[in-house]
Each structure stands twice: as structure tokens, then as C-alpha cells.
């Protein structure tokens, strides 16, 4: 009894060291986003800093009186994050891109998955082999030819460039097909008896049964594309209006002056928070969604 108690304590000790290392950058990120430039430079002030108001030099340079430019560090960092960089615009772009990608993926994948699992037609095996083959090709790996194609049709620096390469989720087709295979045929036969067209069977019978799988796939897709940096970096070259959140952060870091570490960390915090909070609220669902690739 005594020994297992020691063993348990030891395990917790080892895991807690892991916890500290895993949490450290999150802790530092939020901490820096609250501190004043001087506290960041000297690594002082604990977690939240002293929140002693300081004079914003840049604001004084613009010709404002010093009293109007005295700000609290946390307020300064977050206000600067939203004013100096069009962070709201970035976030909006992120939402537009991730939501569009997911919706188009579903519209394309669902009928295909239904046909592959519940309809018999000549060439079905060929289509399914094509799906299995395309699973081998990661989109990031063929970024270069995609970039060339998009620039040939003049789509570089557009929402379309951010969305189009992701409209086909071969994995989504595969996943939904596997799911539909478990749906009993009687359900579909009954719908046909009721005179439903194949088209409405997909959207009014199959879609509702697939909600759990779709939710998991939604999490998988949204997390991947909200956090994606590589692809936006390739196809958005300089047009700030189209920046996604990671691009915006990278751009802000690119022309950084000493005072802006705090605001930069504020931007990072704003970008990371939505998914982290959503994850903490619905852990089981998120873990299911992200590890979807594991349920083959």
C-alpha cells in the first residue's frame, strides 16, 4: 500500500515536470501580453506585471500631450494589437476562410461518399481507388505546382487562392464513406418508397445521420486551417487585406520595434485563445476530431 503510494507520487512528479514545460510558452505568452516594455526587457514583474501606467513614446511623437499618452501596459498591448495591425480584419478573414473551406468540403464529399457506399454503378471501384491514391498526396507537398496554376489564372492574392486547394478533402470522403457503410440500407429504401429523390436522400436523410461524424470532421478541418501558416504564406504576397491570423502575426513580428513585444504577444494570445478555449470546453469532442485520422 505504502509502496504504491510512493509510486503514484513519483508518477505525478514526472508528469508535473511535463506540465510545466508544456504550459511554459502559454504562460509566457499571456504574461508578456500583459506587461510593459520595460518589464519585458528586464524580465521582471511576475505574471501580470505591476500594471504601472507608462508613457507611450510613439503617441507623444505624434504630438499628443504626455497625460493623454499615459496608458496601462495590458490596455496598451491589446489596444495596439487591434489598432496598429488590422487584427479584426485578420480574424474575420480567418473565419471566412475556415468556414468556406469546411462547407465546400462537405458539399463535395457527402454526395461522393454516399455514391461510393450506397449506390452501385459502373466505375465505382475506380473512383474509390482514386480516393485511396489521393490520400497519399499531402496538399502542402504540391504547393508549388498549385501556386503556378493559381498564378496562371490570376488568382494569387485572393480569397479563392486561400480556399480552392482545400475544397477537396479526400480524407473527408473516405471518412464519410466509412460512416455511411454503417447506415442501414432499410433507411434509404424507406426514403425511396416515400418518393424522395437521391439528391434529397443525401441532404435530408444521410446528412442528419452523419452529424456526429461531421462534427468531428468540422473540428479537424477548422483547427487545421485556422492554424495553417504555410499555404497563406505562399499565395498571399503583401495584400494585407487578405491576411489570415497567422500571417498577420508574422507580418507584425517582421517589422517589430522594441516596444511592441507586448502587443505582439497580445496578437498571439488572441489568435490562439479561441481554439484553446473551445478545446477546454469540449475536450472529448476535440480529441475525437483531431485524432480522426487515427480511426481508419
Amino acid at each position: 500500500m505504502m509502496r504504491s503510494g510512493i509510486g503514484e507520487t513519483f508518477k505525478h512528479l514526472v508528469l508535473l515536470i511535463g506540465v510545466v514545460i508544456v504550459i511554459a510558452p502559454f504562460y509566457m505568452m499571456v504574461s508578456y501580453s500583459l506587461k510593459s516594455p520595460s518589464e519585458i526587457q528586464t524580465n521582471s514583474g511576475g505574471f501580470a506585471g505591476s500594471q504601472q501606467p507608462f508613457v507611450d513614446e510613439y503617441c507623444v511623437k505624434l504630438g499628443n500631450p504626455e497625460t493623454a499618452c499615459t496608458v496601462r501596459p495590458a490596455v496598451y498591448n491589446y489596444v495596439t494589437a487591434f489598432s496598429k495591425a488590422p487584427l479584426l480584419r485578420y480574424l474575420l478573414n480567418g473565419v471566412v476562410v475556415t468556414v468556406s473551406i469546411f462547407l465546400i468540403q462537405v458539399v463535395v464529399a457527402l454526395p461522393c461518399a454516399y455514391a461510393l457506399s450506397k449506390l452501385t454503378f459502373y466505375g465505382r471501384d475506380v473512383v474509390f481507388s482514386l480516393v485511396l491514391f489521393c490520400l497519399l498526396i499531402p496538399v502542402h507537398a504540391i504547393a508549388l505546382p498549385l501556386y503556378i496554376m493559381l498564378s496562371k489564372v490570376g488568382l494569387i492574392n485572393s480569397y479563392a487562392a486561400l480556399i480552392v486547394p482545400w475544397t477537396i478533402s479526400v480524407f473527408g470522403i473516405f471518412l464519410m464513406r466509412q460512416f455511411f457503410l454503417t447506415v442501414p440500407d432499410e433507411l434509404i429504401d424507406a426514403a425511396r418508397m416515400d418518393g424522395m429523390s437521391e439528391f434529397s436522400i443525401v441532404w435530408r436523410v444521410m446528412l442528419p445521420t452523419a452529424v456526429p461524424a461531421l462534427l468531428a470532421f468540422a473540428i479537424f478541418s477548422v483547427v487545421a486551417h485556422w492554424n495553417d501558416y504555410f499555404w497563406p504564406r505562399v499565395v498571399i504576397t503583401g495584400n494585407q487585406d487578405l491576411f489570415t491570423p497567422p500571417l498577420g502575426l508574422r507580418d507584425f513580428r517582421g517589422d517589430l520595434d522594441g516596444n511592441d513585444y507586448g502587443p505582439m504577444m497580445a496578437i498571439a494570445t488572441v489568435i490562439v485563445t479561441p481554439l484553446v478555449v473551445a478545446f477546454l470546453i469540449a475536450q472529448r469532442r476535440f480529441i475525437e476530431g483531431i485524432t480522426l485520422t487515427g480511426m481508419k
Binding site: V22, Y32, P111, T120, C134, A141, P145, E198, M265
Partner: protein, 321 residues
């Protein structure tokens, strides 16, 4: 009958958009990359010529590309075993706990949710030699006899001057991302930090699928120690999970880009010049499409080989699942 005719065309209407997109977005680009890898094509340049296998020869003969292949392989070679080891280790520890399992699981999974670019920038900040907290913490340990004794190995009778920590205390801690000897290692660390929680979750799922009775049976057969039970029951039954985890971690590690682009830009002196970054820099920034396409083809061959090996294993081990 029109109904019949319609029933016959419906499946094709359903698969048509997906098939079209698969061909245009996935297959055609692979073909384009393969074709362009034999040319000196560049965007905005109307004419180009076929240069045979020159681009491939460059990849396998020039020093820059030798460094590229080396840094990609080192990155994969470090991140894959480390993140799988830590993933499996933490899964085994967590699954044997009596309480707080969910807490550790949630914490270790957090990095998977956070944008790697943002977290890489935070790590860069922490690794900053002057204002970063990592070196501040390490050098604070030098002043404390306890930590110095422990970390430099002096407690074990090692001469502090010969150990890494003791030496660093005397001569200063590394610049990490700015030092050729440490940059790739620092990026690997960030990669492992991000990836191991994902692997842990997959292993936890694998562990819950192992029937309890097997452990009892193994014990009856004389597998007394925990190590024996792991070796005889846990590890073989986790085989399918391991095959999958190895594959996905390998493919993801090959694709590392965010941290490289933001923190080191391939440097110092090309020590972190991984393949995805090389494609980006050569082909997209410098418009050297031919060589970029050749790297893309080599890259695709690596990734496809890994997946095909996985499928081979999965088919062989089907009886486990």
C-alpha cells in the same frame, strides 16, 4: 423510362465534383511538378527548355541540397522517435494513475490546438539569449550550489568543467536559434513539444482497447515484472497504433515549415534548411521553379514511400484490429 435513366446518371453526378477536383487539385499538380522538374522554367518567362536530369543532379551533388536533405532527415530522425517515446511514456504513466488523468491529458494535448507559428514565436522569445527566460533560468541555476551540482554532474563526481552545464556556466549559454550547432536542435525541441500530446492521445486510445484478461494471463504464465508485461502484452498489442503514429508523425515532420520560416529562415549557414522551406525559398521567392519542382518530386517520393510502407504493415497486421 426516364426514371431508370436518371437513376443511372445520379451516381455519376454525385461523384463528378469530387473526381474533377481530385484530378485538378491533386493529380494534375503532381504531373506538373514531375514535368517541370526536368526544365528551367520560371514564372513570367515565356520560353523554357528541357534540361534533362540537371535539377536532380544538383539536388544530389550540391552542398546546399546535401544540407537540405541532411537537416530534413535529422529533424525527422529526432522528432519522430522523441515525440513517440514521450507520447507512449506519458500515455503509460497517465493510464496507470488513480486520479487527474483527464487533467494531464488536456494539458499535453494543448499544443496540438495552438497555431504552431504563434507558439514558435513565443519559444523564440523564451530562447532569446538576452531577454529570454530559458537562459535566465539556466544561469540562475549556476549560482545555486544545489542545481549546479545536480545539473553539471558534480554530485556524481564528474568534473564540472567537463560537463555541458558546468562548462556553459563558465563560458555562457548558447544562442540557441542563432547558433549553428543548436538551431536545428532547438527547432526539434519545439517540434517535439508540439507533437507528443497528439501521439499520447492515440496511445491512450490504443491502451484502453487492450483487454485486461491478457495481463492476467501473462501474469499466470510467469510475466511477473511490469517490464515483462509491457514487452509481452502492451507493446505488441499497440503495434497498429505505433505503425499509424510513426507514419503520421513522419509525414508531419517532413512538412515542418512554420517554425523554420519564422525563426531561422533556414540558417544559420543552412543548418535548418529543411525541404519545405527550400521549396518555398527556391521556387516561390527566387522563382527557380525547375529546382523547386525537383525538390517537390523528391519530397513526394519520401512521403508516399512512408505511407505505402504503413499500408503494407497495416495489411500484414490486420488480425490485431
Amino acid at each position: 423510362m426516364t426514371g431508370r435513366a436518371q437513376a443511372r446518371t445520379v451516381p455519376y453526378l454525385f461523384v463528378a465534383p469530387a473526381v474533377t477536383l481530385m484530378v485538378v487539385i491533386l493529380l494534375v499538380p503532381v504531373a506538373i511538378a514531375a514535368l517541370l522538374s526536368f526544365t528551367d522554367y520560371s514564372l513570367g518567362n515565356a520560353d523554357f527548355s528541357f534540361v534533362g536530369i540537371d535539377n536532380y543532379e544538383d539536388i544530389f551533388s550540391r552542398r546546399t541540397y546535401a544540407k537540405m536533405i541532411a537537416s530534413s532527415l535529422i529533424y525527422v530522425g529526432v522528432v519522430v522517435p522523441a515525440s513517440i517515446g514521450l507520447g507512449l511514456g506519458s500515455a503509460l504513466l497517465i493510464s496507470s494513475l488513480r486520479f487527474a488523468q483527464d487533467f494531464y491529458k488536456a494539458v499535453f494535448f494543448l499544443p496540438t490546438m495552438a497555431a504552431l507559428l504563434a507558439m514558435a514565436i513565443v519559444w523564440e522569445f523564451m530562447l532569446n539569449p538576452t531577454i529570454g527566460s530559458v537562459n535566465a533560468l539556466l544561469s540562475a541555476g549556476c549560482a545555486s550550489p544545489f542545481w549546479h551540482g545536480l545539473l553539471s554532474g558534480a554530485f556524481l563526481g564528474v568534473d564540472p568543467a567537463t560537463s555541458w552545464y558546468g562548462n556553459a556556466c563558465a563560458t555562457g549559454f548558447p544562442l540557441w536559434l542563432g547558433d549553428r550547432a543548436y538551431a536545428l536542435g532547438s527547432l526539434c525541441f519545439i517540434g517535439v513539444w508540439q507533437a507528443f500530446g497528439f501521439n499520447m492521445v492515440l496511445y491512450l486510445a490504443g491502451l484502453t482497447a487492450i483487454p485486461r484478461e491478457l495481463y492476467h494471463a501473462a501474469e499466470m504464465d510467469g510475466a511477473a515484472s511490469a517490464w515483462d508485461r509491457f514487452r509481452l502484452v502492451t507493446w505488441p498489442l499497440l503495434g497498429p497504433t505505433t505503425v499509424f503514429v510513426v507514419t503520421i508523425t513522419t509525414i508531419r515532420s517532413f512538412q515542418v515549415f512554420d517554425s523554420v520560416e519564422a525563426l531561422t529562415a533556414g540558417g544559420p549557414s543552412k543548418s535548418t534548411y529543411v525541404m519545405m522551406y527550400a521549396i518555398y525559398e527556391k521556387a516561390i521567392r527566387q522563382n527557380l521553379i525547375g529546382i523547386g519542382a525537383a525538390i517537390t518530386v523528391v519530397f513526394l517520393i519520401f512521403v508516399m514511400a512512408v505511407t505505402l510502407i504503413q499500408r503494407h504493415y497495416v495489411e500484414k497486421r490486420v488480425h490485431y484490429s
